[in-house]
Subunit: 385 residues, 4 copies
């Protein structure tokens, strides 16, 4: 009964692992028509590719991703390679009529992103960008509270995405493992890597950003290249901060860095509205903090002596995604955000209601990222069309 | 208009300071008929007494507390001396018709406590035991929530009072500063010092305890006496833990120690009921944590996706005592619990509704303490009459 | 190269799911000689069994577990059925020379447990009890800190395991899903279900408990039986609390309940020693809280102005198990405790160093549980041999 | 022996109370040569002034502050009136040779501030601005950690000061109690009121800010004036956010608002450096959070499995100011920040080392505030000279 969906995975790095795990796990926890089959994976290094395929159970391998795309037995191309390869692969996959899932950020630039959107829309192939954090149950719950009217008129949004793993001047750049530090492969530094997540979440919860003022910094100016062993100038932004005005009139602050000692995966946001507020921190992903001031519909205020920030342990059966897993009080982990995202994508195939964010939505995030980088360069506020 | 109330303070140690500060501060923050006047203080060491009197603004001193009690110009005797002196002073003060405020625990034993209650009741003098923690606004709020029906049928009560300041085997016992480690002066160790607070709070919030099973331990068996310089056996309980059954059918666990590394003033309680729960920790005194499950009256349940422990920052104007101080969000400190207690006592003089806990109520706590120590000695459950 | 290990799973309930997931996932994350194969599963209801087998990828099914044990192609029997079935299955499996993994608690009573230990030791078959929480990385880290001498002389251990899912008097007892509320199937209530975990962890970290004083309570006296639809007396303990003295001279308090409103999976422990303390809470499983007072070896004290409870986010590569998963800052979930336990078991097969807790160790926990229930019944302190 | 210091207090609002309390309390807790005497207070409304004087124990009153300044028996003028009165009073007080303590912000503009600095420096009178939060013990401790080299090379500073008390459109503006909402009296909104605190703390801890990009917003455009009863445009900034570059090369984000639902006094900062990080939140003023990565001098790294954010309960005797109060574990409150500030000022009189921030330092904060408001108006980055 289950419809097999043959997956062709490109890339075997960190995201290759995370996506492969999702394909293996989704049907055990979600009731779905489609059943992904790990048909083939592709990467250049044949030995590592073999080990990867064996580990995750891929039936076959291709060292040339073009061959993978040409194969008739592949339904869906999943892209887990560095950012500078997304465009070419997407165009080829769409041309071949394959569904496409692409790791974020979608593109190196808005111009690239526009080509990619055009390609998948012309080919009418299902597509999604892996902004997996939308599927942290607590973040999905935040969206639900917004939609229920529990935040009310929004005033403020503040987001940080802080890490600390590149502080050491002896961390090299480039190569397979560290391409995120190499501007040629990554396009940008924390802006595309971390802020892109923050922006995707922010616009999902609080609508479009219309103008930004930004600054970036590169704290370590030169690093050894992992492959050449030579010192080279660092081209990426180590840190980026920006002010934002949202279309709905609320104000936003955003910051991301890999130089915040002690913050490992501190992806936080807070949204303050007239009726309530929410706060989230990815280091404590099982919680959504909620301040309930008044209720939608009635507008009834909570008695003042009872108000306080509530730590909602997002593991009840009534919480997003959680009924699929264990019992109340039992947490899920990082990897399940990919499982949840995939479940939504597969459900979208069933229902004909495409899962979000699709490429068009991913392009939107790209526009904000580009505006941020433009503003940091020009020192001016930049409008987003 | 203000009626002066002449205070005679006995003892200039830590509690002498805390009480004196309360007398100086209460009228600036509370609107009261009575205005304490720091008339005289008493202690044996004349130099230290002089310094104490000067510091706090006492008008005069007495090195013999009996003289203080005899003075016509004293309305109220406040006892801040070691536990083994309470009985004698109370009896004399009551006989002289003075109001009496006594530092906790009221007595060394139930037998002593009964004499003290008899004395003040016979003399009909206003009296109170300084169980100041009832006046932490968050604890008073907990009592309010219980009274509002927000906890409902109670199932569990758990309390700890953990400190770590006597772990070092080189801490001496006895003397003016360390009489709490000397069984002769203190009667017991953590049971009278820390657990007495926990028990007073517990019975206030959850009603009488009817039976207990306890164990005590003395981890450091010998300590140098501060005055003699000689090693002596330690007579106090360093730690005490007990199980309790409350008259209302709920179960309790209690524990206190001065050997919990890292806990400085970790006086906590949690009460779990059918309709809700509360949690408090004296190291974070500005918070009451509240889990709201259903509301009194209607019994209406909070929507499951919105439930979570709420950190109520107990600094709103609607919170107990807080309107008297600053503005919402501004905390008060340890010393204000004494100011609040005193304000309640003075208000009780005005209204004729005596503030609690009076000596009779303090005797009740003594009964539980004695039962706990009896149980620890006998290894049996002990009923409390 | 990988050695297949053919699994025969008995039971398809909650634990059947959790264990099956572990078999499917362990080799993707751990480098191991053995590779579990989901050969067969067994349960009485053929339709549900079929659905379960399909979902998790079992190759075959048996509606009679005896047939499963007889099969030559099965290497390991895993028991996920109610407690009252463990004995018979273990005896049969051991007699058939199968490895045995048994869900906790091992047995209904010490007498049963002794038979089981005798059987597996006589048959010399590898065996383990699924006390999965030892493999929460933060708990394993606590054990590491103990072993490194960072706690020093222990004074106090306190554990709670609090839930709130049976407060409603309309929750039925018995049947496939709710056998834990049925004394005939479960043996005891929270004592075997929750306290057994607390005891296993406590003795692992702090050594044997030598005496206990306990009390239990059944708050809801009658419940409808899920299968018969009739009201029946409730035979289990709804809540249990006990005092403990450890062999090392430290004191312990333990409490568990399913009536602590707002606590969903609040499995906590705190260990206070002379050199440091640790605190853990299963609702925040990514953290171990650590108070560092002095360092082992040198005994050097941390400067007083720098001391404080540290929230260690147990997701560094240097933390137990975490290198196998994602990157620092990325959490794992409840299910991974089973994956980790299985990895340890399989590694034990490789190295010949059996993973713990084996049945003998599980029997030890059973002895404490029985002593606790005896004490609750007799009202006396009970020694543990 | 104690030298009396005759205080002339101008203003009886919230700050009048906070300062008066400090004068009454400082000598009971700090050992100081000078002893403030509450000589006189001044305000326009004679009845309210009388009540205020009675409450706090002022010996006399003046309804004209010029008379107060003229009095020979006044040594020190303390200014607790709205911002638009500071200039005139300071000039008069300095001309009269009085010491001057001024509530923050010092001035309406840099131009005003420069006149005030010139006046007190010409008159050589001791002076201080009441940036009381420097004297929260946890913030003073943060400064100590910076000075000890525990932060190392700084990368990031982020500060918020969030409140929620003006969200309601029915809150009036102006008048005695609400002059902070009236641009004519306050000069600015949250910038001068809240951000000024954040900036003072930031520059104290992390050195001068050299450029800023800011945005402000007024969410409620019209409010009824408290005195006239008429609706008037709102002239203040309800919220302000800005990006900052520090002279030391680190990046900063700042935000303040009175529209962050659920945040009552959420004055936070975080400083991330190569060697460590600190975080503070005024709603939890008893804590400084500290991430210790490596130690100064040796540069030795903490073992990776032991690292975590530490909640330092800043109540040890070794912590700033705390030895003067109670015992470890006992908190102090909001009001004590004024007591501590005053103690520092009085100690400065003794030692001849003036307490900070003096007017010159307060002018520096004014410059940043003005730059922030300029940037918000122009939409450009603004340099600070």
């Amino acid at each position: 009964m289950a419809k097999p969906l043959n997956i062709g995975m490109i890339g075997y790095g960190f995201m290759g692992r995370a996506h492969s795990n999702a394909y293996r796990q989704v049907n055990q926890f979600f009731d779905l028509e489609y059943r992904p089959v790990l048909k083939a994976c592709s990467a250049r290094n044949p030995e590592k590719l073999k080990a990867f395929a064996d580990n995750w159970g891929y039936e076959s391998t291709e060292t040339d991703w073009r061959k993978l795309i040409e194969r008739k037995d592949i339904d869906l191309i999943d892209i887990g390679t560095p950012n500078n390869t997304h465009l070419e692969i997407v165009l080829a996959a769409a041309a071949a009529g394959k569904m496409v899932l692409c790791e974020k950020p979608l593109a190196m630039t808005v111009a690239e992103g526009e080509q990619m959107v055009a390609a998948v829309e012309k080919a009418k192939v299902p597509n999604m960008v892996w902004y997996n954090y939308r599927r942290v149950p607590a973040i999905t719950l935040a969206k639900q509270l917004v939609d229920e009217g529990r935040i009310g008129r929004p005033f403020h949004y503040r987001a940080t995405y802080l890490q600390d793993w590149t502080i050491g001047a002896d961390v090299p750049q480039g190569g397979a493992a560290l391409w995120r530090l190499d501007a040629a492969a990554a396009g940008s530094g924390v802006t595309g890597d971390l802020l892109a997540h923050s922006i995707d979440t922010a616009e999902w919860l609080n609508g479009p950003i219309k103008r930004v003022s930004a600054a970036t910094e590169t704290f370590v100016k030169e690093r050894v290249h992992q492959e050449t062993g030579k010192k080279q100038p660092v081209g990426i932004d180590d840190a980026c901060m920006f002010l934002a005005m949202f279309a709905n009139g609320s104000m936003g602050t955003f910051e991301s860095t890999r130089y915040a000692r002690g913050r490992k995966n501190y992806n936080t946001f807070e949204l303050n509205g007239e009726a309530g507020s929410v706060f989230f921190d990815l280091e404590d992903p099982q919680y959504l903090q909620y301040f309930r001031y008044s209720d939608p519909g009635t507008g009834k205020k909570i008695e003042s002596h009872l108000t306080g920030w509530q730590k909602v342990h997002v593991t009840n059966s009534e919480h997003p995604y959680m009924k699929q897993y264990w019992v109340p009080g039992c947490t899920i982990g990082y990897e399940h955000t990919f499982v949840n995202a995939l479940a939504d994508f597969l459900k979208g195939l069933e229902t004909g209601q495409p899962a979000q964010p699709d490429f068009r939505s991913g392009l939107r995030t790209q526009k904000v990222c580009d505006a941020v980088l433009d503003s940091a360069k020009s020192g001016q506020w930049v409008e987003i069309g």
